[in-house]
C-alpha cells in the first residue's frame, strides 16, 4: 500500500515500547501490531487521536504517503 506507518521510528525516538503504547491508547497489542506492520485496512480518527496525544505528534508523523511505482514500470 502507498501509505507507510512510521510508528516504530516514533516509538524509538521516545524510547517507548509497543506494549506501553498499547496500554496508554487502550488498544490490544495485537491490533497495534497490525497497525505498525502496515497490515491494517483503515484507522479510526479516535485511534489516531489517542496515538497522537500519547506520542505528542501530528498524524503526518505517523502516516506517510509513498508514491507507488507504476504497475508496468
Amino acid at each position: 500500500m502507498a501509505i507507510r506507518i512510521n510508528l516504530d521510528r516514533l516509538l524509538l525516538d521516545r524510547r517507548m515500547s509497543l506494549t506501553e503504547l498499547a496500554e496508554r491508547v487502550d488498544l490490544t497489542l495485537a491490533n497495534l501490531s497490525i497497525l505498525k506492520t502496515g497490515k491494517a485496512r483503515a484507522i479510526r480518527f479516535t485511534t489516531l487521536d489517542a496515538i497522537c496525544t500519547v506520542l505528542e505528534c501530528q498524524p503526518g508523523d505517523i502516516l506517510e504517503h509513498v508514491a507507488e511505482p507504476a504497475p508496468d514500470a
Binding site: L32, I34, A40, R41, A42, I43
Partner: protein
Amino acid sequence: MTRFASHISMLLYATLLGLLAFVTAIILASVGVLIVDSISPGALGAVHVNAQALDMKTPGVVAAALAVMLMVLSLVWAALLPLIQMLRSTAAGQPFTLANVKRLHWIAATIAVAYLLQFVLPPILPFESRDIVKPMGVDGVFAILLTLVLAQVFREGVRLREEADGTI
C-alpha cells in the same frame, strides 16, 4: 454452553431445539407404531396412525407412509440444524461468515426440495396414502425467496465485517 446476548435469542434457541426434538419424537414414534402394527396387527390395541388412509394397511401403503415420514424427518433436520448452528454462531459473536451464507442456501434448497416433493410424490404414492402429503402453497415459494434474499444480505454482511475487522 453457548452464551446468548439476549433473552430473545435464548428463547429462539430453546424453541428450535424443542421443535426439532418434538418433531423427531413424533415421527420416530409413528414409524415405530407403524412397523410394530404391520408386523403383528392388534399388538398395540386399536392404533390409528394419524390418517384415515392408513386404515387400509396394505404393505404398499405402510411402506409409502414410512418412506414419507422418514423423508419429512430428514427434511426437518436439514432445515432446522443449520438454523440452530446459525444462532450459535451469532451467540459466539460471528454471525456474518461465509458458513452462514452457505447454511442459508442449504435451507433454501431444503425448502425447495420439500416444495417439489409435494408435486412429485402424490402421483407415485399408492392411492390410499396420497393424503399424507400436505400441500405447501405459495408460502413455500415465499420462504425460499426470503431465505435467498437473507443469504445475499449475509454475504454483504461478510464484506462489511471484513472491512470492520481491518479497521484499528
